[in-house]
Symmetry: C2
Subunit: 202 residues, 2 copies
């Protein structure tokens, strides 16, 4: 059945389409039939690639994380200015994207995290690991900003990172509730005022 | 069939049991059969009380909100100290409860908000209204704290309220992910450091 399929039906391609599907509908509400249809893959091919839906979800989470980390790193490297101003640019760019995606299908991790209570141990562990990696990455960013003197130092980089990550995930929920990116935009504006280093001129 | 039922199968009782069910399993994953079983009510009685599952969910959201607002007000009134210290006591009390409820079944609004994208307009509107009322309530609290001088004034009470609500909802997600109340506890500690008024002694 898969003979003659075009090369885009690769493992990676299936993972990307699967990520969109899970982000839009959640893990529990997505059945295998829908996965096969959306990913344009036969049952046989799917099971050649992935053990089951759970394993598929775990690979999606990891694949999505790798792509996002790589994209973030590449874009940050192309920007100039203080490290904090680069982060601000990146976050405003994210918000611009969310304005065109009010169902927030782009935020796979935030969407799947809401389902973690009903999830299997394997799935939960993948979400937890991904979330921890994001946190560590934000922590490193905050450390750099503290070192360059743009972010306050009376709180640890870790404390700031947790605050930022929690606020971001909560603000994404509000984006869905309000069907507007304005709450997210206001949140980020407030956040930067709260974390910035005190003005040395007082 | 409902003849001889004990008086606890009142409308209010059904709403409370329904709230627990929705908070635990979400809206979409909960079927009418489960509702009838959990609420110990016949199909006929249920439809006497509520038009359908959607209407039931809307009434649950509103009922739950009323109960929580009343409880919060009553407990606040019984505390002494600055308004900010009372809020801190209340929040720490919430965290203590969540420590015994790591599936976070107590936070109905946060749990249902995650489903808002797939929800009907009526259901979404109820979540939006409830969320706005919580926000207004936090805004009033922040205003009082700013007036008593315990919370910084360089951000509006509304900006602080949105920040607090987003962070709280995101931190509840982390509680589920980490199966621990520690992320929530750390979040709140950081939050209070960020919002407190600068020490007048410098």
């Amino acid at each position: 059945m898969t003979r003659g399929r075009r090369p885009e039906h690769s493992r990676e391609n299936i993972l990307e389409k699967g990520a969109e599907l899970f982000a839009r509908n959640g893990y529990n509400a997505t059945g295998l039939k829908e996965i096969l249809e959306t990913c344009e893959v036969s049952k046989g091919s799917f099971y050649n690639f992935f053990e089951n839906k759970e394993q598929f979800a775990v690979e999606i989470i990891n694949h999505h994380k790798s792509i996002e980390f790589a994209r973030w790193e590449e874009q940050m490297a192309a920007l100039t200015g203080t490290y904090l101003s680069k982060i601000q640019w990146m976050i405003n760019d994210e918000i611009r994207k969310y304005e065109e995606d009010l169902d927030c299908t782009g935020c796979l991790l935030a969407n799947l995290t809401g389902e973690v209570s009903q999830a299997s141990p394997l799935f939960s562990a993948a979400i937890r690991a991904s979330s921890q990696e994001v946190l560590s990455s934000i922590e490193e960013d905050m450390q750099i900003c503290q070192d360059e003197g743009t972010v306050r130092k009376d709180l640890s980089a870790r404390e700031l990172a947790e605050m930022i990550w929690n606020g971001w995930q909560g603000a994404l929920l509000q984006l869905k509730v309000e069907r507007s990116a304005e709450p997210l935009r206001r949140h980020v504006t407030t956040l930067f005022k709260l974390i910035e280093a005190p003005d040395p001129k007082g």
